[in-house]
Symmetry: C2
């Protein structure tokens, strides 16, 4: 656990007009949640970390929950970054490469949950739960969702999965990977079962190797 001391106290600049306070608050909150968990951060501490008074935050967020929710939204993009990087390790047009990328996609999700547990909990917790409409719209635009769609299209194009089962690909893969990751992260299942989950997903989708 590092110190998390105020930053701006070093800078000679006055406190008024920070520059980009909204982003600074989100970044600070992200880092603090990452280290301590969403249940242990306070608006005041985030403001102090940025070097600003607590009230300043209320010009950008209606309340603390909105700030936290802002952090959550931004995390889906960071997860997609990790997934993209993981998939890049398996280039190529072959069926084997496409399958390897598909597994890398799931494994990156799992790794994210294990290495960034506090952020993972935030993303799928109360603060990021939206109404059906908004959430589905947000999901359709999220890069992580699009990566999953494309990965399944890749498999289908190469005849690596049963075409009749293709429509269920996204929901099945996401459900199984997310469920396993959640249960493992919270300690309900041991870590070593995850690869079996990936195997099971492939079987469900009728993978032919």
């Amino acid at each position: 656990m590092s110190a998390l001391k105020p930053l701006r106290s070093l800078k000679p600049r006055a406190n008024y007009h920070h520059g980009n306070l909204e982003k600074a608050l989100i970044d600070a909150a992200t880092e603090m949640i990452r280290e301590s968990g969403v249940e242990h951060i306070s608006l005041r501490a985030v403001a102090a970390y940025v070097g600003v008074s607590p009230s300043a935050a209320y010009h950008y967020f209606p309340d603390k929950d909105a700030l936290i929710s802002g952090v959550g939204q931004s995390l889906f993009d960071k997860l997609a970054d990790r997934q993209e990087a993981a998939m890049a390790a398996y280039p190529g047009e072959s069926r084997e490469a496409a399958l390897a990328r598909f597994r890398a996609l799931g494994r990156a999700y799992f790794d994210w949950g294990n290495t960034e547990t506090n952020l993972f909990r935030l993303m799928f917790g109360v603060f990021c739960s939206l109404d059906q409409k908004d959430a589905l719209a947000a999901r359709d635009e999220s890069r992580a969702w699009i990566l999953l769609q494309r990965s399944l299209d890749d498999l289908a194009d190469r005849g690596a999965i049963n075409p009749a089962l293709r429509p269920y690909g996204e929901i099945l893969a996401w459900s199984a990977v997310h469920g396993a990751t959640s249960l493992i992260v919270e300690g309900h299942l041991p870590k070593d079962v995850f690869e079996s989950i990936l195997d099971a997903i492939e079987i469900s989708l009728g993978v032919v190797k």
Copy 2:
């Protein structure tokens, strides 16, 4: 949203020596979390609801988190009750009955998440996350886990699933059902995909109908 007013103010009994304060606090906290979500309850409100001073709780729980965690532990049993009731609707020794019970098990989990969302979030949130050892030990003794094991044994005994895949039954079924329930409850997936998840689980386990 109902009122949640203090109860004991009506009773003529004095405040000292409540009787079974520990259980009363857990019950009250359960009901209040059920209605408002774990992020919106205070130790003081729970104590007031029971008709007791805030400090009284500290004779039974070291802190607020311990009370909440106590609530969470007790919920796994209530989930098992629902699952048992749901399975009882499909009696019989036939393969079809065993399959129907297996699906009822998953559907009851899903229904629990949808009707008792606040409690569901608590069960699998930070407050109920244990170290690997404790959690796995607790799980092995939980009735919900045992129900799942028996249901899979039933399927295997009747030759309804691929014997080679039997060992993966628990982790796969729980992961997929939990993942789908979580994602649907938080709005990331639409409700109507759940039955497809049950189909996919059966395919993964090599169900022969």
